[in-house]
Subunit: 408 residues, 2 copies
Amino acid sequence: MANASFEVLEEGQVTAPKGFRAGGLHCGLKKTERHDLGVILCEVPASAAAVYTTNLFQAAPLKITRESLAQGGTLRAVVVNSGNANACTGQQGEEDARKMRSAMAAALGVSEHEVAVGSTGVIGELLPMEKVLNGIERLPAVISPNGSDDFCQAILTTDLVKKTASSKVLVDGKEVIISGAAKGSGMIHPNMATMLGFMTTDAQIESSVLQSLLREVTNVTFNMITVDGDTSTNDMLVAMASGLAGNNPLTPQHPDWQAFADAFRYVAEVLAKAIARDGEGATKLVEVRVTGAPTTDGARAIAKTIMGSSLVKTALFGADANWGRIIACVGRAGVQVSTEKVDIAVGDFKVLEQSAPVPFDDDAACEYLKVADLVHIQVDLNDGPGSAVAWGCDLTYEYVRINAAYRT
Amino acid sequence: MANASFEVLEEGQVTAPKGFRAGGLHCGLKKTERHDLGVILCEVPASAAAVYTTNLFQAAPLKITRESLAQGGTLRAVVVNSGNANACTGQQGEEDARKMRSAMAAALGVSEHEVAVGSTGVIGELLPMEKVLNGIERLPAVISPNGSDDFCQAILTTDLVKKTASSKVLVDGKEVIISGAAKGSGMIHPNMATMLGFMTTDAQIESSVLQSLLREVTNVTFNMITVDGDTSTNDMLVAMASGLAGNNPLTPQHPDWQAFADAFRYVAEVLAKAIARDGEGATKLVEVRVTGAPTTDGARAIAKTIMGSSLVKTALFGADANWGRIIACVGRAGVQVSTEKVDIAVGDFKVLEQSAPVPFDDDAACEYLKVADLVHIQVDLNDGPGSAVAWGCDLTYEYVRINAAYRT
């Protein structure tokens, strides 16, 4: 979806927007010597926004981050650990998250309410606070303009690759950079996947405007990916805007708003797709596009039902253009659609037209599914203006292996 | 749930209730010489009831069966084929299902509206009607009081075992027998799982009363199992009551109603659990019991969310008492519950109490999960009177293998 209104930057450094530095180190939460504690620092108070998991059992750091943001809407830093989710840890967990925040604030010389906290890893175990606090004390020394990679390493669990993206857009003739980093599904002990995302920009934009944009963009990017249908207790996406690009404050009325919003969405979409592609055990990224639905919500529900179906996902792993499983998802998604007008295509292969099977070259379709790195599924309901896109991955032996491994 | 009010019969023959005969044969829909066409016949018009899939794309046979039942509420016969679902086959499929019905009616000398039709197998392919009609002509000759096994074989696809159950209960001092047969998740080509169920009884009970009971019982049995979260286009459960036991008509006011309803539910529950246990690739049956929910519907939603979670199911395959995944399901089930009062037990191991982790013997719990043939998960929300039980199975390499196999 890159287009002429903005530019894509090759290296997705969260420190690329003016005002941001970052760092990461190993404090002892991961067994091996990999980074497990990281921080993004903004040299000025950044307008900030965040969205959180809808799971009722929200982990302690999310509560503390909410408190921070409620107190003024600006952030100077976000500190994140991997290796322990600090979830389902009760009162002690909340105190620990609060201690992480106050220690980070003290170490950086900023106010507590200007620090956000994130965690990912095993559930139900208390944080080894001595290690964490010792690490936080050492963090300021490793913060640098080149610290993006260290930060990105620190937020990973068993993700196979780092996930970053950057875009550049002109606002009032000033160069504005938008960057992001995310982690997806992985674990140290077998545990639930957690999605954490961090976006930085040097645009000048008020916290409330950033919050609206973040929510809107999340709905069509991060909220449209599914790896296994489970919603983590720790999912969180935080955005920070330093304002140092020097543009006039961005609002939907600003002449460059659409270009900025597109560039912002681009970064979020790249990160979301990267998470889906790196889903546990995945061999391919899958994009499901639903058009012609009665409503946008209906299109979203159908796209996510298809992308979440174990039967569809195993068929894709097996390179099987099994449209019967796809149409069955359309029928059980809880959306009233005409059952007589459905078109389905897998890649360039039309397999169903007006709800009737279309003869297609099964071998060629199988070959497409085998070699395609990005598989396209298109469903046109021919029943209204609603459309949506969802992303996910196939369901493989490796997924079972990863998630069935004994916790030892 | 067997209890003193009724007796369990060892052999679950659908022909055990007075008035029923059955049969099955190979007509050529399955590639190997296994039965693929079967019939249950009642010597008198049987009060009948049925429930159908909620999938919008209902297969043709379901539509024809609906039509039959709408015309008087009695059935003499139900004819079923495996190997082809006759789903997503458009107008031709509907005509084919109608032809199956009229041919079966003619062959048995009964009215068309006294015949129900069921199909299971691959989606989107037209029935080879010559084979089917030829088989239907030969069916009457194989119908016998001992034909239950042949019928049960005929409805299977890749199910590993036949699924039958019978119970006996006294109504007005008369012996009433209730029997059932079902098929679960399996396929010929890789395709979606289909649940078909057939229940027979010699009780005297009106069609409308039987329908209410069937719906009520389905809600706590067949509708509480999940293998992969996908809802087939062909699911159907048909019940037939010959009335030949000679009891007074059964209604909820009848003094023996509860005993009959319990015996009826017993058969449905055994079949439902058998389907879950024989889920594709399953190594164990899992029972999730949720208590203390604000409402019954809430308990049902939570129980099914836990049982449907790929992360919970892979953990069970891996013999991992990973309660973090269970509580995350509670939190994402869409039910408002208190997050502070949750108790969770895996087998006899208490792992969470009042939402706080309880130290437990991890090795012993792992051993329990490894050897248990039926795994119990209990979740008490301590937040109301609602309770529910769901059944399912683990998610294994074999599930992926079965469903990823190329369609060749």
